[in-house]
């Protein structure tokens, strides 16, 4: 949410600065490793350490990496999400003003919900309800009951 609000102001006025700092981050902080599937890419930022550590102990450790849950399927959507997130990640990280504790944003929450369904479509078919996964008011939220499967917070 916050990111979106910021987007209006920041993207216009601060694009130059932000892009500059982001580019710096990208190279120096090895932001490029962000583009891979390796979870260690995420913990190039120590800020992702907590999630990484508890992901190692999670039920999904052996079956899903960060990007399995945090990027949508499909090449374009995936890299667009990565680009967007990568931008905000670098931006906040470099300026050091990101929210603490970090909370998943609404958009990324939807991405993650979709990821659950991608892998578990079969088993949840029966509980999806008549509107299927289309109408949010009629959708079961996986995270309502399974917040902890990827990692504790």
């Amino acid at each position: 949410m916050k990111a979106q609000t910021w987007a209006g102001i920041a993207v216009g006025a601060m694009m130059g600065v932000a892009l500059g700092t982001s580019a710096y981050t990208f190279l120096y902080a090895r932001g490029y490793s962000y583009l891979t599937e390796d979870p260690r890419a995420c913990i190039n930022c120590h800020i992702m350490r907590e999630q990484y550590d508890s992901w190692l102990h999670s039920s999904h450790h052996a079956v899903a990496t960060c990007n399995d849950c945090h990027t949508p399927s499909g090449w374009v959507a995936k890299y667009w999400t990565k680009a967007q997130n990568g931008f905000w990640h670098s931006y906040y990280f470099t300026l050091g003003t990101y929210p603490d504790p970090i909370r998943i944003t609404e958009r990324n929450r939807r991405v993650t919900e979709a990821a659950c369904r991608k892998c578990h479509a079969d088993i949840v078919h029966g509980i999806e309800g008549p509107g299927g996964a289309a109408d949010p008011a009629q959708r079961a939220s996986c995270l309502h009951c399974h917040r902890d499967v990827g990692h504790l917070h």
Binding site: D122, I123, V124, G126, G129, A137, Q138, R139, R147
Partner: protein, 440 residues
């Protein structure tokens, strides 16, 4: 096996039969949804938990009451309840609640039927949807009004099953739906008070809300309004105990006149929805179905466990997805809460017995209605508050602090009632003689 799973997964619902809005028999729905039907039928099980579930007590069937098994009697467990309900049918027979499978028989054969009970009971004790439809010739509301006005025996002939699939589900989409006019009206009044006009529950509720609302059609405090015996939920001022009491005070309602004190008293009944509303789980969006009908894996997919029962018999599914604590720990947490509630309930009932004894003594000392008015009003208040927790079936779990608050208020009402009597001077020494023996 794997082959079968894959097939199931592709087509989780085998639409074996066509379901319509007239298909009342759950066995027919069960052909399409065998897993839900199988678990639905298991509500015949009787297992006791520390404060909930139920015990299967064998009895010898009689012509008047053919039941061969009943649940334990609350009156025998605690005779103070008889005094609290003196003069009302509940003092004849009140038992622990048990599974949905028994609802029709328990309402039909309860000892309370010694005093004539209205057909309106069956709104909540049967699959009444078809009856509304036929009585109202398709118009549910009209059918509801006619149904309420019937004597019990008449209404009984119109219903066949305990709550069934059709009462909670749309037969085409299987979506949850509200079929009970009393809830449609009650929730509309409640939402109006919260500033939402013309609330239409079937159109406006979210899916997660519906997972509680379908239960709140029955698990709520109610009364029968007027001579038409219209089943009504007293929610227009809110669902907290003081708001409900204020409603009853305003409309001048009483359930009966207390046989020992002459107070105009009320009976609270199963306010699960109301108490839950005040708790942290409701606030966190946790629905009745999340705990009482948790998902269960059957074969290749998840289904809702239609064996509606105490979550204490199913902790692992009901609680552990959200609370990663061992089962024993979760049970202990519930017990800590329930033990506290139970002890306070005990204390409050003792206080009420004292107030009732004092009122009786004041009456026999010749004090009249006018002089007793204040104390009688405290009796009405105290009793309703105590019953609000006593009749609620989670022993405080649905909202622990609120349950304790209500009992604390009730104890204070007893105190003030006793204090009001003191002004009347001597002769009002009902409990004074026994006070010395009361344990702290």
């Amino acid at each position: 096996n794997i082959l079968e799973r894959k097939r199931e997964a592709q087509n989780p619902f085998f639409r074996v039969v066509e379901l319509t809005d007239d298909t009342t028999d759950p066995a027919i729905w069960g052909k399409n949804f065998p897993q839900q039907y199988d678990s639905y039928r298991r509500t015949v099980d009787q297992v006791r938990t520390r404060y909930g579930g139920s015990e299967a007590l064998p009895r010898t069937p009689t012509a008047a009451d053919p039941r061969s098994v009943v649940a334990q009697s609350k009156l025998e467990e605690d005779p103070r309840l008889k005094t609290m309900w003196a003069g009302f049918a509940f003092s004849l027979d009140t038992r622990e609640d048990r599974g949905h499978a028994y609802m029709l028989d328990d309402a039909t054969f309860t000892g309370r039927q010694a005093r004539p009970q209205p057909g309106a009971c069956l709104n909540c004790h049967s699959s009444a949807y078809a009856a509304y439809k036929s009585l109202g010739e398709g118009d549910i509301m009209k059918g509801f009004e006619k149904f309420n006005a019937l004597p019990f025996a008449e209404a009984r002939k119109l219903v066949e099953h305990p709550v069934a699939c059709i009462d909670c589900h749309d037969p085409q989409t299987m979506q949850l739906r509200i079929t009970r006019p009393a809830f449609i009206e009650g929730i509309r009044a409640l939402k109006a008070r919260e500033g939402i006009p013309d609330y239409d529950v079937n159109r406006m509720a979210t899916r997660q809300e519906m997972r509680s609302f379908v239960c709140a059609q029955c698990h709520v405090e109610y009364y029968f309004k007027g001579d038409a015996k219209r089943l009504t939920f007293p929610w227009s001022k809110g669902v907290k105990v003081e708001e409900i009491l204020a409603y009853y005070d305003e409309v001048g309602f009483k359930d009966w006149t207390h046989a020992e004190t002459g107070a105009s008293v009320l009976k609270a009944q199963h306010p699960e929805f109301e108490l839950w509303s005040q708790g942290i789980h409701a606030r966190s969006g946790v629905a009745c179905a999340d705990c009482h009908m948790p998902y269960q894996r059957v074969g290749a997919f998840k289904v809702s466990d239609h064996h509606v029962r105490s979550p204490m018999l199913n902790v692992h599914r009901a609680c552990q997805t959200c609370h990663p604590w061992p089962e024993e720990e979760l049970k202990a947490r519930v017990q800590t809460i329930q033990d506290r509630t139970h002890q306070l309930r005990d204390r409050a009932l003792d206080a009420l017995m004292d107030l009732i004894a004092d009122l009786k003594a004041a009456r026999s000392a010749g004090h009249g209605e006018e002089q007793l008015r204040e104390a009688l009003d405290y009796h009405r208040k105290a009793q309703f508050y105590i019953d609000f927790v006593e009749a609620e079936n989670s022993s405080g779990f649905h909202a622990p602090q609120e349950a304790a608050r209500i009992l604390a208020d009730a104890i204070d009402f007893c105190r003030k009632g006793q204090q009001a009597l003191r002004k009347l001077g001597s002769g009002t020494t009902g409990v004074a003689a026994t006070a010395a023996t009361a344990a702290p």
